[in-house]
Amino acid sequence: MKLLSRISINRTSLFILLLLTGTAVIFMLPVFYIVSTAFKPLSELFLFPPRFFVQNPTLQNFNDFMQAADASIVPFSRFLFNSSVVTFFSVSIALFISSLCAYAFSRMDFPGKKWLFNLIIIALMFAPEAVVITRFLVVSQLGIINTYFGHILPHIAVPVGVFLMKQFMDQIPASLSEAARIEGAGEFTIYWRIIMPNVMPAVGAVMIIVFQAVWMDNVSSVLYMTEESMRTLPYFVSTLTAAIGTDVARQGAAAAAGFIMFMPNFLLFAIMQKSMIETMVTSGIK
């Protein structure tokens, strides 16, 4: 069916397997590193040159982290709650409106289409750091400082999302949506029932990209929020790291925090990956 697929275990596929295993190990290194660092005792955290794997694993870092969380004026649960709300709404809204927009770009005609798409490509290329200041001015003019909107709104119109999904939708044969149209399906039905299930790989990729951007984002906490209680988890973690200079014990807490921040990323990835692969294999594109 596919290239080389008739060949069972022979020299070529054995070679491929070995090569993939080798590369895969290199790929996994950072994950091992994050996990192992989280369990290092202080003596090993400050070791130079740094050691890759932990020798005497300890849960002390998580204790330190909990203590730091207790000591903070705004309860840790508040940061966690803020982060969860902001991430959930940003990701779902971003996925919905970007895919809808990508569908319109791919399948429909409207005035200013070319012009707007070129604008997307331009926005893609512009370094995000360069518009931080002007975006702050927009946020403050809209009066959404210190609200959840200030966290969510700047994240929902992602050019990269529209671009990736539009390119995937372009590859789906027109006959697929034409058939549905003849059966009497409306545009929204075609988008939701025919096109979306076929671009799940792109949706998954965009979901992970947006999730990451929002979950790890400290910019909106620092710039758009002046009240501690409206800030999110990355801000809390950054206060831990900032305190390292004066407080050695916080280094352990920061390592544990890195692990805690990474896990949701990793879990989402583990779940999405499976459905993305299944959709690719069973998709109607073939």
Binding site: L3, M28, P111, A123, V131, T134, A157, M261
Partner: protein, 284 residues
Amino acid sequence: MKIETRNKIIGISFISLWAVGFLVFWVFPLIFSFFMSLNHVAIQTDRLVFDFVGFDQYHKALFRDAEIPNVSLQFFAQSLIIIPVIVVFALIIALMLNQRFPGRGFARAIFFLPVVLTSGNLINELTNQQQGTLSFLQTATVTNLVLTLPDTWALALTNVLNSFLMVLWYSGVQMLILIAGMQSINPSVYEAAKIDGANDWASLWLITLPGITPFIFISVVYTVVDQFTSPFNPILEVILRHFREPDTGYGYATAIAWLYFAIILAILVVVTLIFRKPLGLKKK
């Protein structure tokens, strides 16, 4: 109401939500930052004071600031090497992951994993700890080989080798795009080619690669953008530093940003021109 008009209204309603957000949080800040780049911006306690200077800051960045041409030249030389490496690497891994072998799903998961790692403080911490470099690359032979090259290229090449691991990590999304592209080729085409006596090597060049050209194009564009907006980018560091310096300020920083952007645009135009022919042929 005409069907055409109706369709246009539906089309507009589909994009409207996204477009409003896009105009407010991307287009307007972009235009405003261009305006800032033409001004010297001073920060007062409650407002910004603009002093119009025209294109003077662009002139300064291009001809009077020694740091900018140096940093950018080296970075562009490095990108010129790194971008094809990333795409070719992604393509090779995607080809392998498209084969059937036990544990394929697991292998794909591992190769896409770096995408969840390549952002935020996480990766910065890793490079600070020297996990991002491969020590065997610093052995004498490689260094000697590199030293025979002109300075800019030698430095660029060393950087590429040193950040080999990073190259691998930046290819996750491209890999996914390419695998999806390979899945979109009808298997019966391979069957037909096999019946006609084509071997696997021939089908790779005559079926797989032409079939996934649009996807290779997307990958290249994605890689260019990803590289030029990554947090490791030395030019972004220069820009961010000027943001904080009171005597140059926002105005000068945005002027550099716009120059930088013009160069990325030029590179993408070149990429599009290279791909225009193969993409055009495919549409027939």
